[in-house]
């Protein structure tokens, strides 16, 4: 019997804003789906677009990058650099034939626990609707 598809989403959260926001959602006992597993990075600016593509090629169905709101970056403007790279990344996704909805960039502050929960809920729903990416299998078949 086939079980319902549960997407696997990798979350790259900056430690100062978004990881703290995710913690706040926990402290306030807000509920959200368990599909996003977070990796804590110092700044969203650490996330090289190739890391996102590699994560998808390794088997992730979606990638969430979350950082501080523009102007609030702990490292002055790392999030702005992320935003620029993200725009390029989106174009690359198109070329790979990967739906843009699978990779999201969100601004979540340390006070926005509810926003984080909401982002996880909506992204999980979206990626679930898109279905499995199966890039790993495709890469293996091609090789």
């Amino acid at each position: 019997m086939a079980t319902a598809f549960e997407p696997k989403i990798v979350g790259f959260l900056c430690r100062w804003c978004s990881y703290a926001g995710a913690d706040l959602a926990g402290t306030n006992r807000m509920k959200y789906p368990s599909n996003v597993s977070a990796i804590r990075v110092n700044c969203s600016g650490r996330i090289d677009p190739t890391l996102v593509l590699k994560a998808l090629s390794l088997g992730a169905d979606g990638v969430l990058i979350a950082g501080c709101h523009p102007g609030d970056c702990h490292y002055t403007n790392g999030n702005i650099k992320t935003l620029r790279r993200f725009k390029l990344l989106q174009k690359m996704l198109d070329q790979y034939g990967i739906d843009r909805k699978r990779v999201r960039l969100e601004w979540v502050s340390a006070a926005e626990g509810e926003k984080y929960a909401q982002v996880v809920r909506s992204m999980t729903d979206e990626v679930r609707t898109l279905g499995p990416l199966n890039w790993k299998t495709k890469v293996e078949l091609a090789a």
Binding site: K8, V10, W16, C17, Y19, A20, A22, D23, A25, G26, T27, R29, M30, K31, Y32, P33, S34, S37, A38, I39, R40, V41, N42, C43, G45, R46, I47, D48, P49, L51, K54, A55, L58, G59, A60, G71, D72, C73, H74, Y75, T76, N77, G78, K81, R85, S109, A110, A111, E112, A117
Partner: protein
């Protein structure tokens, strides 16, 4: 060398984790991971027996790396790293798997929470396996403190740091220190005269050899990090030489520009050259250039003429703003509060009817130095009001339309205001509309009870629906929920207890400091219970109502606490920084230089001889933005390499 003998410790956190996550199952699955030689659970790993368990296991099982699956790393990462270090390992051989804040607390389904906990643990195992042992980077500490905001919080903090032996810069935006407390008439619950207890402290600040007061000043730019901040402060000129001015007031007498006096909330007038209030510190006049008829070119100059003729020739109309470049090790933020804009509460008619006032305006009226010299008068016609209505929680505890929170002090000062009214107008009648009486604090409940009983105040439990004017009276329509009846009071004066909001510069300042704000715009603390004096940004400490609404005793306590935190930081000439910084793999670097302008800390440079990028470890903050930009993959972040990130990704997506 990748870790070969990893130990995994999983915390129950009582039922906080174990209530949702099947801990034994997570232990079982962790023990099957490659290189995991030991896995165990414990009810409270942060407790002494829990810590001993980790320490003993490292030794007995010859572990070379440890994963602790428990609460968020924001809580106890330092605790567990210390434990691992005390057991003889490098402190970076320890990773935290967050299975509480981002696990058991956010997932109801036990199966899903257990699976996610397992994946999170596996992810941490992969990371710790590839961690390299690191030694903290030692940097010197600039042993000076900047205090931003010269209200009672800033005053207390500055004095405590200065008395502790270190230099303090106190930056204040207005022409005097004193802040909100200087505007108050009396303080609850002891009815101390506010200025009488604040004044001596203000003078002490002014005279203290270790405190440099920068008034009319604003923080323009902040760079650096804990122990080594560089702060640029812009200071407007006062145009009056403080050393010479004897506050004779001849200048103000001839000044033609008249404008509302902010100190009296616009209930009185002041000149463009003025002293904010009689006890202002520094005790000198100050010229408000924005409202002066003109300085460039000079339009009037009457004040200077008067001063040269009758006074001390202390006015210099050609003064220029100054920029100060300060170097400090710690910053204490005490920027205080403002009042919520009462005109937004249209049902109460503030701003439409002159006899509807805010509690702070009423406070000024009670003050002997206020617009009416302490007499209670209606602003509209100057008559003494007989019937007065106080509306508590005005625009507060209203998440839909105004402020969602309680400002904590209004129950207390409203009781004091009503009591003072009855004292000054013995035949008057005072009504207080309230939702609850929140009088938590030493002597507070007794104070409110005393006001109510001795002074015969009429407390009505309920909200006011509308205030409107009719026949020179303010008609207050509300409900008394205890009797279940609607109430109408024909009042002469209505006082609104509007809430406290962060001062208007807070957001801008927070961006400069890289200090986060909470949902209501107040400064966030590093931990609501255990680290209430610190911002999450290291080296920045919080005091007073800029962090949350609070009364004077709490503010003073927090200010002294923040000062002692700053003194703690300054007590050593050096401090240790996280060594998780960027590194260059020299042989891969092509010397393209793309990374160099991206670094916000100028930590990267191109070695002119080898043409290879170099990282200054003392400057690098470890954000990693250079790494993401490197086209040849020669930059890496210590203990968060691409290899580690991908290993973590694999650990969580693999089935």
């Amino acid at each position: 060398m990748p870790a070969k003998r990893i130990g995994v410790f999983i915390c129950h956190c009582g039922l906080n984790i174990a209530g949702t996550v099947r801990v034994k199952e997570v232990v079982e699955r962790a023990s099957k991971q490659p290189n995991v030689v030991f896995a165990v659970d414990h009810k409270y790993l942060c407790s002494e027996p829990g810590q001993t368990l980790i320490r003993d296991s490292v030794k007995q099982q010859h572990l070379d790396a440890v994963v602790v699956a428990a609460c968020s790393p924001a809580m106890h990462e330092t605790t567990f790293k210390n434990v691992v270090q005390s057991a003889g390992l490098n402190r970076y051989s320890c990773e935290i798997a967050n299975i509480r804040e981002q696990g058991s607390w956010v997932h109801d389904d036990s199966d899903k929470a257990t699976t996610k906990a397992h994946l999170t643990v596996r992810q941490s195992i992969e990371k710790v396996r590839l961690n390299e042992p690191l030694q903290p980077i030692t940097v010197p500490v600039t042993r000076r403190v900047l205090v931003i905001g010269g209200g009672i919080a800033g005053i207390r903090a500055a004095l405590d740091v200065a008395n502790g032996g270190y230099e303090v810069y106190l930056v204040e935006k207005s022409g005097t220190i004193g802040g909100r407390m200087a505007q108050l008439s009396e303080t609850f619950p002891t009815l101390d005269c506010s200025t009488c207890i604040l004044g001596p402290l203000m003078v002490e600040v002014y005279r203290h050899p270790k405190i440099k007061l920068l008034r009319l000043a604003r923080v323009e730019e902040v760079s650096g990090y804990i122990g080594n901040f560089k702060v640029r402060v812009h200071q407007e000129p006062a145009y009056v030489d403080v050393a010479k001015c004897n506050a004779c007031g001849e200048c103000a007498k001839v000044c033609p520009a008249e404008l509302p006096n902010e100190f009296d909330l616009g209930l009185t007038w002041r000149k463009a050259i003025y002293t904010p209030f009689s006890q202002a510190v520094p005790p000198a006049y100050v010229l408000d250039a924005k409202n002066c008829l003109g300085l460039l070119p000079q339009a009037c100059g009457e004040c200077k003429k008067a001063c040269d003729e009758f006074g001390t020739s202390c006015i210099n109309l050609d003064a220029w703003p100054q920029t100060h470049e300060l170097e400090v090790g710690a910053i204490i933020v005490s920027t205080g509060y403002e009042l919520y804009d009462a005109t937004k509460l249209t049902e109460y008619g503030y701003g439409i009817y002159p006899d509807v006032m805010t509690s702070l305006e009423f406070e000024r009226m009670l003050s002997a130095s206020g617009p009416t010299a302490g007499e209670i008068r209606r602003p509209s016609d100057g008559h003494v009001p007989r019937e007065i209505v106080f509306i508590q929680c005005a625009g507060q505890r209203e998440p839909e339309t105004a402020l969602p929170y309680c400002s904590k002090i209004c129950c207390m000062y409203t009781a004091r205001h009503a009591m003072m009214f009855r004292h000054k107008v013995p035949d008057g009648e005072a009504y207080v509309f309230y939702m609850d009486i929140r009088a938590g604090g030493k002597g507070y409940e007794e104070f409110v009870k005393r006001c109510q009983e001795e002074k015969g105040l009429l407390y009505l439990r309920g909200r006011v629906a509308k205030v409107y004017e009719e026949n020179n009276k303010l008609i207050v329509k509300g409900v008394d929920t205890l009797s279940g009846k609607t109430v109408q009071i024909n009042a002469d004066l209505v006082v609104l207890a509007v809430g406290m909001i962060p001062s208007s510069e807070t957001h801008d300042l927070a961006s400069k400091l890289k200090a986060s704000l909470d949902a209501n715009g107040f400064f966030s603390e590093a931990h609501p219970k255990l680290r209430p004096l610190e911002s999450p940004t290291a080296g920045i400490f919080l005091a007073g109502a800029g962090q949350a609404p609070k009364d004077i005793p709490d503010t003073v306590a927090q200010a002294s606490g923040a000062a002692s935190k700053a003194l703690d930081l300054l007590s050593s000439p050096t401090l240790e920084r996280e060594p998780t910084v960027a590194k260059v793999i020299g042989e891969l670097c092509s010397g393209c230089g793309i990374c160099i302008p991206l670094c916000p800390y100028t930590a990267l440079s191109l070695n002119p001889k080898t043409k290879v990028a170099e990282v200054s470890e003392a400057l690098c903050e470890g954000c990693g933005t250079c790494i993401a930009s490197c086209p040849s993959g020669s930059l890496s972040l210590r203990n968060l390499t691409d290899e580690q990130i991908l290993a973590m990704v694999e650990a969580m997506v693999a089935t």
